[in-house]
């Protein structure tokens, strides 16, 4: 019976793993299940006529991967490329893309119940990228919903890139 109670608790309140990265001084989290790999910064080839949020493309073992300018997407000021800069290769519902981040920190374990809804008081579309917030290790994690990072039209645009 005690085992059943523990089992019920774990199913009701699952533990999720999040890969955290830094961007403009804040810490963000993305679901580890959507992260394929983390690359050091490599030269990104710009694509003429690509949308403004697209930095360019990289060659990943023979595959072309589009890299998104995450700072631009989040309406944050642009930053410099450093030794800590990383390209996180993520897999969404339909595509594999790369997102450029200032640095990758760690993998954290969060219970579903620890995640709180973030406010949405702006008119910016980007607010919907935030899945929630969580206070962990004396800092506030902003959890990103990658599937909402681009609209369906924008995903189609990426295919053209």
């Amino acid at each position: 019976m005690a085992n059943d109670a523990v089992k019920n608790k774990s199913t009701d309140d699952p533990v999720l793993q999040w890969v955290t990265f830094r961007l403009d001084g804040e810490t963000y989290g993305i679901n580890v299940m959507q992260v394929q790999e983390v690359l050091r910064y490599t030269e990104i080839a710009p694509v003429p006529g690509a949308p403004s949020y697209v930095l360019g493309i990289i060659n990943l073992r023979g595959n072309v991967v589009t890299v998104i300018d995450t700072r631009h997407r989040f309406n944050l000021p642009s930053g410099d490329i450093t030794d800590n800069t990383r390209i996180v290769i993520i897999e969404t519902d339909r595509h594999v893309i790369g997102i450029l981040v200032d640095s990758v920190a760690e993998v954290v374990y969060l219970r579903q119940s620890e995640i709180e809804m973030a406010p949405n008081v702006g008119n910016e579309e980007s607010a919907k990228f935030i899945q929630g917030v969580c206070h962990k290790n004396n800092e506030l994690l902003i959890l990103i919903e990658l599937n909402k990072l681009l609209t369906s039209e924008e995903w189609n645009e990426l295919e053209d890139v």
Partner: protein, 326 residues
């Protein structure tokens, strides 16, 4: 002498003769249906039906049976004897059918315990465990009933409203009907007063204040505190955007949270509370333009904020407010 009837018995016989057998049938059916009500899921409505039915059956049966016992000799015409016997049998039948419901009546009070097993409960598994492990399920089920209420509000998208919003016909807000305490604080050189009754806590703004992208410009960020996360408003930008000075971000030292909502106002400094009489304030009559401004206090050269209204504005501005558990 023995042939003389008791007037009461005569009256009963008269009514018995007037009452045709068809009239008894619906009554019997009604009682049968009432007796069927004896089911495990008794509610207050059922018990009301039973208690209402009880007195109407019992006196009728009691009087008639006692009357019958005293008059077997007083039947001059033999033809009427048989119908009386039939009625007696019917009444006896009614009496026997009425018995169970009289016995059931006290159980009603016991079964009032049943309401905790209502469909409002979110997780039936948890309830089953509570029933087994605790002897007093009523106490245990209280939180489980409260939780679905919040969920229901989310589903229905009900409009959240914080208390103290109303302004009375005398032109004063509900919280200022008699003397009230206010806290004075400074925001970019402007002194603001807020009613103490609407305030939650005062917390220092730390490095943990985390801005979120894609929000309104008056949203400073989320300040984690031991009491929870406070969504911090850039008060200077919220109150006087036309005179906003960027230095406020660096100068703001405290966040004053609003009671009942997860929001707070960033302030430069907090002064001592003062007591005001309603007459000390020049109340605003038209609040359509700046609904958060209740009035001004000339003596202290400050603006009095309508904090419940600010709380309501913030809740209304938050598109995720309906999904948030306060």
């Amino acid at each position: 002498m023995s042939d003389l009837k008791n007037p009461f018995d005569s009256l009963l016989d008269y009514f018995d003769d007037l009452l045709p057998s068809e009239d008894l049938e619906p009554m019997a059916n009604q009682k049968a249906s009432v007796s069927k009500v004896k089911s495990p899921s008794v509610n207050l409505k059922d018990s009301a039906i039973k208690t209402a039915a009880k007195p109407s059956v019992k006196p009728l049966v009691a009087h008639r049976t006692s009357a019958r016992k005293s008059k077997p000799i007083a039947k001059p015409i033999p033809e009427f004897a048989e119908p009386d016997a039939e009625k007696k049998a019917k009444l006896q039948k009614l009496l026997s059918s009425a018995q169970p419901q009289i016995v059931v009546a006290p159980i009603v009070n016991v079964e009032v315990v049943a309401p905790p097993k209502t469909t409002y409960v979110a997780d039936p598994h948890e309830i089953q465990e509570w029933v087994i492990e605790t002897a007093t399920p009523i106490v245990e089920t209280k939180p489980s009933i409260e939780t679905p209420v919040v969920v229901a509000a989310e589903i229905l998208g009900q409009h959240l409203q914080i208390p103290g919003l109303e302004w009375m016909p005398n032109g004063l807000p509900q919280w200022a009907q008699s003397r009230f305490d206010v806290l004075l604080f400074k925001v970019s050189g402007l002194t603001l007063a807020v009613p103490l009754i609407s305030l939650g806590q005062i917390q220092p703004i730390t490095d943990e204040l985390t801005p979120l992208f894609g929000q309104a410009d008056w949203f400073m960020g989320i300040q984690p505190t031991p009491q929870g996360k406070i969504r911090t408003v850039n008060t200077a930008k919220f109150v006087m955007p036309e005179r906003y000075d960027e230095s406020f971000i660096k100068n703001a030292k405290y966040v004053v949270s609003i009671n009942g909502v997860p929001w707070g106002l960033a302030v430069d400094s907090v002064n001592q509370p003062i007591r005001l009489q309603p007459g000390d304030v020049k109340w605003r009559s038209d609040r359509s333009k700046r609904p958060w401004l209740a009035g001004t206090v000339k003596e202290h050269m400050c603006a009095l904020l309508d904090i419940p209204m600010i709380g309501q504005i913030l809740i209304d501005a938050d598109k995720n407010a309906m999904k948030t558990r306060l």
